[in-house]
């Protein structure tokens, strides 16, 4: 029996090793060959009028802003702005891509955010076909779109003026925001609630895109005790006692508006609800940190401090 068990154990360890080896070898290879690929692409400089598949709503918006919309031939499900993108083939979510269908579209380049790589199972396969993949780093800063544009400039032919315009517009917005922020004596406490019907309510902790935009707009994120999103609880609501509740428009609609929101235990007790300070904004606009991020921050600022609806 003892021999039996050790045999099983050996078999198990062997399989474990096999699985680890198999998976890791593919992953580590991809890192090294990626950097090699990047170099080659750099030297050749650019996909002049190349066909682009954009797998991120953020990237799509940046490309549109830079006047490259004509080059986009397909998009992922999150690419919803501008609305004209809706006419392009929708490849679905990045974790559920159809490799063949992408190849069938014969793109020259696929563009994706670095943070999405973990869901992009087809990375290896597509890289081995003749399609280049550009992974764009992104962050929660108002100039995120400018950084992305400058990164993309290495590979795509982008009019310098377009980037300069984008930069100028963001700087102008930021300065306007800056000057308005100076007039604020006390920062409002804003709680972001993510809702997808009453069954799924989450609140944004620190280090989230929602917290970032709230801070850019000169307010405090009501929750600082945890990172990322956590399920909403009545006690946490009352403890946070937000002055303002911020939601995605789609999220508020999924609760049937403010009446629906009031049905959630704890909400009616918050100062935000009592003073009717519920702000709803478009989700992509608010948290994508794309070319309109500075506009979104300004709009959020004015909704918080200037003209409460």
């Amino acid at each position: 029996m003892l021999i039996n068990i050790s045999l099983k154990l050996k078999l198990f360890l062997f399989l474990l090793g096999l699985a680890t080896f198999g998976c890791q070898s593919s992953s580590s290879e991809s890192i090294t060959s990626d950097s090699k690929e990047t170099k080659v692409v750099k030297e050749q400089k650019a996909f002049e009028n190349g066909k682009i598949v954009s797998l991120s709503g953020f990237i799509s918006e940046v490309l549109y802003d830079l006047g490259l919309e004509q080059q986009i031939i397909a998009r992922d499900v999150t690419s919803t702005y501008p609305e004209s993108l809706a006419t392009l083939p929708n490849l679905g979510h990045v974790s559920q891509l159809n490799t063949e269908a992408i190849i069938a579209l014969q793109p020259d380049v696929i563009i994706i955010e670095q943070a999405q790589l973990g869901q992009f199972k087809q990375y290896e396969q597509l890289r081995k076909s003749d399609i280049s993949i550009i992974t764009v780093p992104s962050s929660h800063s108002l100039s995120n779109a400018v950084h992305a544009a400058e990164y993309l400039k290495q590979y795509l032919s982008i009019d310098k003026q377009e980037i300069a315009d984008l930069k100028a517009q963001i700087i102008a917005d930021s300065m306007k925001l800056e000057s308005q922020l100076a007039s604020i004596s006390e920062k409002a406490k804003v709680l972001f609630i993510y809702a997808r019907s009453t069954g799924r309510l989450m609140v944004a902790g620190s280090n989230t895109s929602a917290a970032a935009i709230i801070e850019k707009a000169g307010a405090l994120n009501a929750i600082s005790s945890f990172e990322s999103f956590k399920p909403l609880s009545p006690e946490a609501l009352i403890e946070a006692s937000p002055d303002i509740i911020l939601m995605f428009r789609s999220g508020l609609e999924s609760l049937d508006g403010k009446q629906g929101l009031a049905q959630i235990v704890g909400i009616p007790q918050t100062p935000a609800y009592q003073n009717n300070r519920i702000i709803a904004m478009d989700g992509h606009y608010l948290t994508a940190f794309g070319p309109r991020a500075s506009k979104a921050a300004l709009e959020l600022f004015s909704q918080i401090y200037i003209d409460p609806l």
Partner: protein
């Protein structure tokens, strides 16, 4: 038990031919349209590297992986049904599915926080490895709890399997509850199964385990036939019942664990394919196991071909289709069998 009125000798050759046909058929269909000549010259003449890449590196590994996983899931389902002497049993009963699910959910949710540095590139392999380990651990726990003095009670095992699966599902539930939107999406898609990232490395990992599993189970088909009469009777017939049990469970856990690790959860196949064969050919495990291997592979190849073509340029999770195609067909068979007064 039904009696198949036909030449039993032609069943397996027929299924093998259908399998070959479905492999060839699946090679022709895809979101990328290729003519027969293009496929022929890409495979055998090596004229066009893009087409060749598409067929040999994308379509073929996907077909191979779906065939292996279809075969693995249905043959292990058949064996588990034999072991439990219950046609309604499937692999979920020994805990392998819920265990794999739990560990996959854990790795998806925790990779966002604790394992953030391991991060993105390793995410898929981490999920796969976690699922495999989770499947084996849970199965071992179920087996361990239902064994004493070197004997395993099948009824205890069934109940322990149900209890542990429920417990694992509850813990999964906690982490699903704690997951953010992106993680929830990953979990949902994972639990619906997909072959969308199939490559030769996955085939090389799954292949040997499934083949060992198939051979191992087939060697025990006579024992499973004997167990059908009852465990005591099987012992009188000279079958080492306990040994058979532990082997069948080990092989099943290995096979199902590696299948789930690569493709996520694909329900229904393990239950329905063997059951369907039993309806038509009767319960003789010597035939049933072999037939399950081939029909399972055929079913999965056809379903996956649909999954990657019908909503192109995106694709459907395979688990949705296996149930959507399998369930009505299965019901039709059930009704038909009832009309003919055939006991199942």
């Amino acid at each position: 038990m039904t009696e198949f009125k036909g030449n039993r000798a032609i069943i397996i050759p027929t299924l093998v031919s259908i399998l070959l046909l479905s492999i060839i058929g699946a090679l022709f269909f895809g979101a990328y349209h290729l003519s027969i000549q293009e496929i022929w010259s890409a495979v055998f003449l090596n004229d066009n590297s893009a087409n060749r890449f598409l067929i040999l590196q994308i379509r073929l590994p996907r077909i191979a992986l779906s065939a292996l996983i279809g075969a693995g899931l249905s043959v292990s389902g058949a064996a588990i049904q034999g072991l439990f002497r219950n046609p309604l049993a499937d692999q979920t009963l020994i805990g392998v599915t819920s265990g794999a699910m739990l560990f996959a959910v854990l790795s998806i949710v925790l990779s966002g926080s604790i394992l953030a540095q391991l991060s993105e590139l390793f995410k898929q392999s981490t999920i796969a490895l976690a699922a495999f380990i989770g499947g084996l651990l849970t199965t071992y726990l179920v087996y361990f709890l239902s064994s004493s003095d070197g004997r395993t009670k099948v009824t205890t095992m069934l109940l322990a399997g149900i209890a542990i699966s429920a417990f694992a599902a509850a813990i999964s539930g906690i982490f699903i509850y704690l997951s953010d939107d992106e993680q929830l999406r990953d979990i949902t898609f994972w639990s619906l199964g997909s072959f969308s990232g199939a490559n030769w490395i996955q085939v090389l990992i799954v292949g040997p385990i499934v083949l060992i599993g198939i051979i191992g189970l087939m060697l025990r088909s006579k024992a499973l036939n004997a167990i059908l009469l009852g465990e005591k009777e099987a012992v009188y017939l000279g079958i080492e019942v306990e040994k058979v049990k532990s082997r069948v469970i080990l092989l099943t856990a290995l096979m199902v664990g590696v299948c789930i690790a690569m493709s996520g959860i694909i329900g229904f196949v393990g239950l329905v394919i063997p059951h369907l064969l039993r309806l038509v050919f009767g319960t003789d495990y010597r035939l049933l196991l072999k037939a399950s291997v081939f029909l399972g592979a055929v079913f999965m190849i056809i379903t996956d071909t649909l999954a990657r073509t019908i909503v192109a340029p995106s694709e459907l999770p395979i688990g949705i289709l296996t149930a959507m195609i399998g369930a009505p067909f299965f019901l039709w068979l059930l009704v038909k069998a009832q009309h003919q007064n055939i006991a199942i």
